[in-house]
């Protein structure tokens, strides 16, 4: 008799667990160590060259239980929007967590005793900033690749005004880095995926606020004139 409930339960459990997205640890960037003590919070790296996923490994070197949060700017400009967290780190143990960041400022908070606002350390991520309340949210993802003579996968791209798109560029070139700069209808820079090495993937979240024709190009050397350029329409 108990066999059937057991099966249903396993299925239910898997379904619940399936809600989560299991992603592999960040391949390009190394793990960033955080040493969290009873009154200290040492973050091994506080400046990041590009948006993406940062893998943290928190070691509790204190005597009290601790938790670590990464905050982005919430409404009102204070750092209170959770970008990632790990709780229940017992003394002498380590816990890992990942945080997806776009360009901008963040704060790491170690909270010994799991209370209060914690010991804060500022983080800065270079790259396209997403203004507004949600630091890491975007409406959809656009994946494309960059060869030495063209961007592939952007033909026919259109977007709605106000849409926030995460552009993900895989550089399929064998030996040249490429970047992806986007200019709005007024010719001003909207944002960019910074220089991305051969075989790697770069990401940026861009908010396309106004309607019109946007242009994009690779700003490295003479790549744009070799064909790494194009445009798309925002309605």
């Amino acid at each position: 008799m108990p066999a059937r409930p057991a099966l249903v339960i396993v299925a239910l459990g898997l379904a619940l667990v399936g809600c989560g997205t299991a992603t592999s640890a960040a391949d390009s960037s190394a793990t960033v160590a955080i040493k969290a003590g009873d009154s200290t919070c040492e973050v091994a790296k506080t400046s990041f060259a590009a948006p993406g996923t940062i893998a943290f490994e928190v070691q509790n070197v204190g005597k009290d239980v601790t938790e670590v949060y990464v905050y982005g700017k919430g409404s009102g400009g204070t750092f209170n929007k959770i970008a990632g967290e790990v709780e229940n780190i017992a003394p002498g143990t380590s816990r890992a967590f990942e945080v997806k960041v776009s360009g901008g400022d963040y704060e790491v908070a170690c909270k010994p005793g799991q209370k209060g606002s914690g010991t804060r350390t500022a983080l800065h991520v270079t790259g396209a900033s997403t203004t507004g309340t949600s630091a890491a949210a975007y409406d959809r993802e656009v994946e494309f690749s960059a060869r030495d003579d063209s961007f592939l996968g952007l033909t026919g791209l259109t977007a709605k005004a106000g849409e926030r798109i995460e552009f993900s560029m895989k550089n399929t070139s064998s030996n040249h880095p490429h970047e992806f700069e986007v200019f709005g209808p007024d010719g001003k820079v909207v944002g960019e995926i910074g220089p991305t090495g051969p075989g790697t993937t770069g990401e940026a979240i861009l908010e396309l606020t106004t309607a019109g024709t946007y242009t994009y190009m690779c700003g490295i050397s003479d790549h744009a004139s070799r064909g790494l350029r194009g445009s798309f329409t925002v309605r």
Partner: protein
């Protein structure tokens, strides 16, 4: 050597599930349905095994669960657990009335909601915090600094929670029937209200619900979350020293009507609401 903070986390994470399972088993035993207890255990064991297994995958491989996914899981699983436990409480309240009036044989029919429902209740009661607890346990095992201390303290805390759940179960069995059904049921409702509030907070952290930074009160300087009393308050009532407004509202919105329904004089199994007539069945 022993790590008190680590012990207290283990105690906190395990306490509420132990209490719920302890009360449910006591109920079944009181109803003379020891045979149904095994169904409950199926759910409990399945939740423990799944949590430990999935936690091990996350801790020992490069696989990662985003914090939003983990919070969403914790949040929704908590709300599902509240649903099951509430439903269980009212089912038992109804069943308990048979005890007074009906022959024992009729109980078997009353229990037809059967093994699956019991197993699922055991599963969600334990599983909702299972993953977080498993991650905590595995990180203790994996500790490079003091693996023995961390592991023994963490497991010691969990064990203590099980002992407390068992003590509650034993103590509850000594109560007379009427007192037992009234107070253990009410206790379950109060625990479920805490789980509900906790689930809301998880969903706020995941960004699915607003108001994470709008606190109703913050007494974390008076009642430290890592103190023994903070641990017990959190473990039993899910009391969070820094509680958001939405959490407080959810707690009251659940507790008030459900307790009212629970303590309302039981009426005969007639659907039409005629409270005056049947006030003292």
């Amino acid at each position: 050597m022993f790590s008190v903070p680590t012990f207290l986390i283990g105690l906190r994470e395990g306490l509420e599930a132990s209490l719920v399972v302890g009360i449910l088993i006591a109920y079944l035993v009181k109803l003379g349905r020891r045979d149904a207890v095994s169904s409950l255990w199926v759910g409990v064991v399945a939740a423990v095994v799944l949590s430990l297994g999935f936690g091990a995958v996350l801790q020992f491989t490069s696989a990662n669960l985003s914090f939003e996914a983990q919070e969403r899981f914790g949040g929704f699983a908590s709300l599902v657990a509240v649903g099951f436990v509430t439903w269980m409480v009212f089912w038992m309240r109804r069943t308990a009335r048979f005890l007074k009036t009906e022959l024992h044989g009729r109980l078997t029919t009353a229990l037809t909601l059967g093994p699956l429902a019991l197993a699922l209740t055991g599963f969600v009661a334990v599983g909702r915090e299972g993953l977080e607890t498993a991650l905590f346990l595995w990180s203790a095992v994996q500790s490079t600094q003091q693996p023995v201390v961390s592991t023994s303290s963490a497991f010691g805390g969990l064990l203590a929670s099980v002992v407390l759940g068992y003590a509650f179960y034993k103590g509850a069995l000594n109560l007379n029937l009427k007192t037992f059904f009234t107070w253990t049921g009410a206790a379950l409702v109060v625990v479920a209200a805490g789980v509900c509030s906790y689930g809301i907070h998880d969903l706020q952290e995941a960004g699915l619900l607003p108001g994470l930074n709008t606190l109703a009160f913050d007494v974390s300087n008076t009642i430290a979350p890592s103190s023994w009393y903070g641990t017990l308050l959190k473990g039993i009532f899910n009391f969070q020293p820094a509680t958001t407004v939405l959490q407080a509202v959810a707690w009251v919105a659940y507790l008030a009507p459900v307790l009212w329904l629970f303590f309302r004089p039981s009426r005969a199994a007639v659907p039409a609401p005629t409270p005056q007539q049947t006030a003292s069945v």
